[in-house]
Every structure is written in C-alpha cells, then in structure tokens.
C-alpha cells in the first residue's frame, strides 16, 4: 500500500482517535468493496413443502420450454420440407426459374426501414405516405 502515512496523535493510538490518510481510506474502501465479508446474504433455507414446490415449478418450466422448442423445431422442419418440395417441382418444369430461384443473393441486406419490435409503439406507428424515390423523381 503506497501513500500510507500516519499522522501524529496525542497519547496512545486507539480506534477512536485513529486517523488515516485519504489515500489509505480510498484503498480500504476499494478493498471493502470487493470483499465478500459482511456483504453476503444469509443462506436461503426452505422448508420441505417449499422445496418440493420449487422443484415442481422448475420441472414444469423446463418441460414447458422443451415443448416450445420441440414445436419450433417441428415447424422449421416442415418449412424446409415445403421449400424442398417447391424447388424439386420447379426444377422439373422450368430450369431457368429454378436457376434464378437457386442463385445465392450475395450481399443482400435488411432494409433500413426495418424495425425491431419495441415494448411500446412509436408516436408514428406506420409511415403511410411513402413514395418510392424513383416515383417521386418522375413527378
């Protein structure tokens, strides 16, 4: 600890008349900040009923999430199957369209107007009077 210096105190040094330099105080505060002593909560002890209730809750929630995830996976699989079906049929009937539909759209990006859902709607919910740039230019 650098910057520790003791000021002179009259008589015997004890807790009451102890003085520390601001630097020491700062270091002590910082150490106290990261120390777990006196800041840790008491161990959470639950009774038998609450233990089982807690177990029931966590099990139910786990199963609930599992069900949702399984349904989502099923849906994605179905979507993939339907894309595959459409593309296989397209390959049979029109090779040009198939090729166009199968080209990698490299560099494709989301539009700037695309928004992420927010908790509350914006003041202007929807931009109704939209005119595309090329249409506006023509006018």
């Amino acid at each position: 600890m650098t910057g520790v210096n003791f000021q002179f105190t009259r008589g015997k040094r004890n807790k009451a008349n102890r003085t520390r330099s601001p630097a020491t105080e700062r270091v002590l505060t910082q150490l106290k900040m990261i120390s777990q002593r006196r800041k840790q909560p008491k161990l959470l002890q639950v009774c038998q009923e609450d233990h089982i209730r807690h177990e029931t809750i966590t099990t139910a929630f786990k199963l609930y999430r599992q069900e949702i995830n399984a349904n989502r996976a099923k849906l994605l699989l179905k979507q993939y199957e339907s894309i595959k079906y459409a593309m296989e049929d397209l390959e049979q009937i029109n090779s040009y369209l198939f090729h166009e539909a199968n080209t990698n759209q490299k560099g494709k990006r989301f539009d700037l107007e695309m928004r992420i859902p927010t908790e509350y709607p914006p003041n202007q919910i929807w931009l109704h009077d939209y005119t595309p740039a090329e249409v506006a230019e023509k006018k």
Binding site: Q48, E49, D50, E55, T56, Y64, E67, I68
Partner: protein, 365 residues
C-alpha cells in the same frame, strides 16, 4: 395458461386430475390434510410450514414471494401433460388387450410402465412422499418404484457392486451381475440389524439363519426367487486350493412389489420347518489363522417353480454357475458378508454338532 400452450395443446384441461382418486390409487396423495394444503395452496404466513415442528421456527419462516401463482400455473401445466399421458396409457391398454403376440405385449407393457411413471413422477404430492415420507411409499405404484430405484441406484447398488468386485465375489462365484433388485439381509435371532454388504460378522451373529428383503422395481406378481449362500473360501488341503460350499439354499420364494420380506413367518410353518430350504443352514465356522472367508448371497429370478435334486448339493465343491444354468435361474441381486475365526466359533460348532476346527499355519514353499 400461456398463449403458446393454448395454441399447442388440443386436450381439454381438467385441472384437478391429481385431486381425483376415483381411478388413481389413494396412496398417490398426501394423507395429512394440513400438509396437503400447505403444499398445494402455499405455506400460510399465519401457520407456518407443517413440516417444521418448532413453533418459533414456524413463525419465523417466510416463503419466497411470487411462488404461489407460479406454482398454480406449473401445477396445472403438469396436470395437463399427465392428462395426455393417461390418455396414451388408455390407448396402450387397448392395444395390449387386442394383441396376442407375447413379445409385442411385453414391449407395450414396458412402455405403459414408463408412461405410468411419467404421468405421476412430477406430481408434487408424489414427490413429497418419495422425498420425505419414505415409510409411506406404496411400491405397487410405478412412480414410487421409480423414485425408490433412483435412490438405490445412487447409493445401494453402487456400494454393492463395489464390494462384490473389490472382494472378488465376482468372478469367484458368479461371472458378473447386473443388479435389478435391492436385497437387504439381517440376522434377527441375534438381534442384529441390516448388514452392510461386505461387513465382518461375528460368528455368534451368524449362528442362526438370516432373513432377507427383495425389492423389485419393475411391476411383478407371483415372481419366484431362489436364494443361495455360498462360501468360495472353504480350504481344500489335499489340492492346496479352495472349494465352494453351499451354506444355505432357498427356492420358490414368493415376493411381490409390496410384500418384499423373506422372513421366518413366510419361510416356515408353525413349528419352524422351512418349506423352501434345499439344504439346512450351515453357519460360517472359519478356522484359526486363515484369511477371512467371503459369504456371497445370490438372489435369482426363477422362470417357474423348480425342484432341486439334493444329490447335486452334496458335492464338496459346489458349482453355483452350473446350478444356476441347469435350473434356469437369472442372477438379479446379491449381498455378501465376511467372517473370520473368533472365540465363539467353537460354540457354534458344538451347537451344530460339527467336528472341531483345525488350526493352521502358513505353508511357505
């Protein structure tokens, strides 16, 4: 219930499935009404938990806020799932009644048992009973058997296998074992309590025959068992090796899920005659200055009632593997203890009218 559940589940909810005991066993519910209330409706702030007996501690206790509404939702959700499982069980039962193929039937039964577990295992009342009221476990119920098996898997089974393997009971007696039943043993005539596998027992303790419990974890009815106690460490001075001795044999012992005891009232008639015995009980009588002897208890599942010819038991070197094979026995459980010479061996020999024990010294070559 949440929007997503509403969208996915097609079954009409019956929220009080686990409160309805018209089709389900009453043992799946909690008998103590107060406890049931505390478990399902939440610990009342005024009364405190039922499981805590100290009045001051009861008063001091506080549940985590926000638990009750969540618990109700979780409870309803689990009941909905159980409802679906019960519907599936009904379908399987219909299939079982229709099919004639034994293999298909066995598969369906196994499937049904699994579903019976999953329909009830998350029921808080069942869970509470399994966790905190082990004396109330009704072993005729699949869910309780599931919890009992889990508990045994986590300790008893591992301990048994550790003892059998480190003390070479496997492969000195039987080649190996896949334990399926929980076997406990005690020697009640000497007042001793349950024996820990591999413990050293005093010869006065083992003077009179033991009793057993055999706990099956799959659904059984009218299952017969054979119990053999063998000692693979009987000295054979002529060949300078060891023989295996059969110390006790019981056959055709009937045990079910709920009646697990193999005690004297079950084995013997009113005058103490054992009707299951294939050979009379021979107590451990080790001789002085020899290493300890191992006594392996093997529990076999029988396919049908067996009749044993006593001639094959008189062989001084009993072959337990051959015995099991000829009688169509499957080893499903085991137990063991160890014995060493002590000062009461001579009394035991006297009681059984056995010849005096020899005294040995190590023989170096």
């Amino acid at each position: 219930m949440s929007a997503i559940i509403r969208r996915y589940s097609t079954v009409v909810t019956k929220a009080d499935l686990w409160a309805d005991f018209s089709k389900r066993s009453a043992s799946l519910g909690l008998k103590d009404a107060q406890l049931k209330e505390a478990l399902l409706k939440g610990v009342a702030a005024t009364d405190g938990p039922v499981s805590i007996t100290d009045k001051a501690a009861k008063m001091r206790y506080a549940s985590t806020p926000g638990m009750q509404p969540l618990f109700e939702t979780a409870h309803t959700y689990l009941q909905q799932r159980a409802q679906r499982t019960y519907a599936a069980i009904e379908r399987i039962e219909r299939q079982i009644s229709e099919t004639t193929d034994a293999q298909v039937k066995a598969n369906l039964l196994a499937q049904k048992n699994k579903m019976a577990v999953s329909a009830e295992q998350h029921n808080p009342e069942v869970k509470y009973t399994a966790e905190y009221l082990p004396e109330n476990l009704d072993m005729s119920q699949a869910a309780f058997r599931h919890y009992a098996e889990q508990k045994w898997n986590n300790y008893g089974k591992m301990l048994l296998m550790e003892r059998l393997e480190t003390m070479s009971v496997i492969p000195d007696t039987m080649p190996t074992l896949n334990p399926e039943v929980d076997v406990t043993m005690e020697f009640p005539c000497s007042g001793a309590s349950a024996v820990v596998p591999g413990a050293f027992l005093h010869s006065s303790t083992t003077m009179k025959p033991p009793t057993f419990t055999i706990q099956e974890f799959k659904e059984t009815d009218n299952q017969l068992y054979t119990i053999l106690i063998v000692n693979p460490d009987t000295p054979n001075v002529e060949t300078n090796g060891f023989n295996t001795t059969l110390h006790w044999g019981l056959t055709n012992v009937l045990v079910s899920n709920t009646d697990i005891k193999v005690d004297f009232s079950k084995m013997c008639d009113a005058f103490g005659n054992n009707k299951h015995e294939i050979c009379p009980y021979l107590p451990p009588v080790p001789e002085k200055n020899l290493p300890y002897q191992r006594f392996a208890v093997w529990v076999f599942r029988q396919e049908a009632a067996v009749a044993v010819k006593s001639a094959r038991l008189n062989n001084p070197d009993f072959d337990i593997r051959e015995f099991a094979q000829t009688h169509g026995l499957t080893a499903v459980g085991a137990h063991m203890w160890r014995s060493k010479w002590d000062r009461s061996v001579s009394a035991v020999r006297e009681f059984y009218n056995l010849p005096k024990g020899r005294i040995f010294h190590p023989h170096r070559l």
